[in-house]
């Protein structure tokens, strides 16, 4: 995906730790210490039980394509150079779902059930999580993002509150 002029996320206060972690090559999500529910996107409270005792966990960045489309009619000029491109809903192995592009291959070959892994696209001063087929060769061209930092030790890396 080419970068120029594309929308940057308007980063909310409760999601800042998430975006900061992305810049370190880590995909994070929230878990509720009260009810055990995991959630994405980041919130100031648990959307399951309403509790506020949330912790950040680190995802291994590995998941399955739950749904996928290939966009031929772009929403705006900056995306026009990229069509056709794949937009997917990816179910991460830790139990949360997120939207992203599936990059680094033929978009028309992305299928429901495909295993994918996260990488990070540099867009402005933001590192945007994207996915690529699990078996795609490592060392993705820089324009398509950079590889995540390898996961070390246990996935739970930050016990701080979400706020």
């Amino acid at each position: 995906m080419s970068e120029r002029g594309k929308p940057l996320p308007r980063i909310s206060a409760e999601a800042r730790p998430y975006w900061n972690a992305c810049r370190e090559g880590e995909l994070r999500y929230q878990a509720c210490r009260g009810c055990g529910r995991v959630q994405f996107y980041p919130r100031a409270l648990c959307a399951g039980c309403g509790g506020t005792d949330l912790e950040w966990r680190r995802s291994a960045g590995s998941g399955v394509v739950h749904a996928v489309t290939v966009v031929y009619r772009a929403p705006s000029e900056p995306f026009r150079a990229d069509v056709p491109y794949a937009v997917a809903l990816v179910d991460l192995d830790e139990g949360f779902r997120m939207m992203a592009n599936v990059v680094g291959g033929d978009p028309e070959r992305v299928a429901i059930g495909d295993r994918v892994r996260v990488l990070f696209e540099t867009r402005g001063d933001v590192a945007l999580p994207q996915f690529t087929p699990r078996d795609a060769p490592r060392g993705v061209p820089p324009s398509l993002g950079r590889e995540p930092a390898p996961v070390r030790g246990q996935a739970r890396v930050d016990r701080g509150q979400a706020q």
Partner: protein, 389 residues
């Protein structure tokens, strides 16, 4: 059908609907004023009889207080005023809201009016870009989805799980066009074939151009009156005997399921209140932003079993003379879609069917109609059950 007590049910006493399509010289306000005048004349009322107003919003001329702006423009000083924001469900939800006001005795005649000029008031690119903002600004929009792409994601999963094919979806578009051909106010009146749909350019796989609703100028109004309103109005009208909503998410990535949505609960609530089953419905007007939208809603709401709507539609189930004539005006796919007003066209068509005024589109013996609106990405839902009063 058993006799029902309609003495405490709100009445839809007047309807108005502009032509849909490209309407040079129209504005968001003219597309409120024109259908409002038509609906009030239909009901035999004047603007001074209106004591409640329910509006939606405009993309072309956004305002913080839409219902206040519209009431001021029309010269109405209502006792109750509200602007709702439920996307394509706003029309049905506005009627439900108005019905609650008149049934509670707060108002006697509520004007539900919505309109926008999305063709002449903004460029197509502008409309596509503005609508894409329904996505989450941090967690969806940066990935370049469009409204068709969001619905295409749903379609991909639904087709995967329930065996729906692109040909099934194409039959939805063809049926809607066949209906629009019979409506003088419809935007698209040239018949199409399944082959035309499949050959139209890809927008977001698996949705082709002709799987997508139109972008239109258009305005719609409905007058909702107190149960005893027959005293003031030109005709007894149509009674609302059931209404219900269902809401599960706004952003598609937060939807609890891509195969079941709030339409299930909305329809169950509305049908339950009305005391009828899907099999009792003789004519349906159901939100059809995309071909897949209508197919999923029909199955989710119990009009067809899972996986059965596609083959049934291909065999003519939704056509005039079919098992469940649906979107007899041509729907959003062929009549037109101007935002919240698009969802209100389904209400108007339901009323016209029950009054026997649908001309070449008339479903013989229509005495009970089901109407449904969907806002966002199958996010917000409202169902209505209407009967001839």
């Amino acid at each position: 059908m058993t006799a029902r007590d309609l003495s405490r049910r709100a009445r839809l006493t007047g309807v108005g609907c502009t032509r849909f399509g490209e309407l040079p010289g129209s504005s968001p306000m003219s597309l409120h004023a024109d259908p409002a005048r038509e609906a009030l004349a239909d009901a035999g009322l004047r603007t001074r009889d209106v004591d409640g107003i329910v509006c939606a919003y405009s993309l072309v001329e956004p305002h913080l207080m839409q219902s206040s702006v519209v009431a001021e423009y029309l010269g109405i000083r209502p006792a109750m005023s509200a602007a709702l924001q439920l996307g394509g469900a706003t029309g049905c939800a506005g009627v439900m809201h108005a019905a609650m006001l008149v049934e509670a005795g707060r108002c006697r005649h509520v004007l539900v009016v919505m309109g926008d000029n999305r063709v002449t008031g903004m460029s197509r690119d502008g409309a596509v870009a503005a609508l894409a903002q329904v996505g989450h600004p941090q967690f969806e929009v940066p990935y370049g989805p469009t409204i068709p792409a969001f619905y295409a994601l749903v379609a991909s999963r639904y087709m995967h799980e329930h065996g729906v094919t692109s040909e099934h979806l194409a039959h939805v578009a063809v049926t809607m066009r066949d209906h629009a051909v019979r409506h003088p106010g419809a935007q698209m009146r040239k018949p199409i074939t399944v082959a035309d749909v499949l050959a139209s350019r890809m927008i977001a796989r698996p949705l082709h151009l002709l799987d997508c609703c139109l972008v239109s100028d258009g305005g719609v109004a409905v007058v909702v009156s107190a149960p005893d309103a027959a005293r003031d109005t030109a005709r007894p009208g149509v009674a609302l005997i059931g209404a219900g909503q269902g809401h599960t998410h706004e952003h598609l990535s937060q939807a609890p399921s891509l195969t079941d949505f709030g339409c299930h609960d909305a329809a169950a609530r509305a049908l339950g209140e009305a005391g009828v089953r899907p099999a009792d419905i003789r004519v349906a007007e159901i939100y059809d932003s995309f071909t897949i939208t209508l197919l999923i809603e029909l199955e989710s709401m119990g009009f067809f079993a899972r996986g059965e709507a596609g083959p049934a539609i291909a065999a003519g189930a939704l056509a005039l003379g079919g098992r469940l004539p649906t979107n007899t005006h041509g729907g959003l796919l062929s009549f037109g879609h101007s935002g919240a007003a698009g969802g209100l066209t389904h209400v108007v068509e339901g009323v016209r069917q029950l009054r026997g005024e649908a001309g070449p589109r008339q479903v013989p013996g229509a005495e009970i109609a089901f109407v449904h609106g969907d806002g966002g990405i199958l996010s917000a839902h409202c169902s209505l059950v209407l009967v001839r009063a």
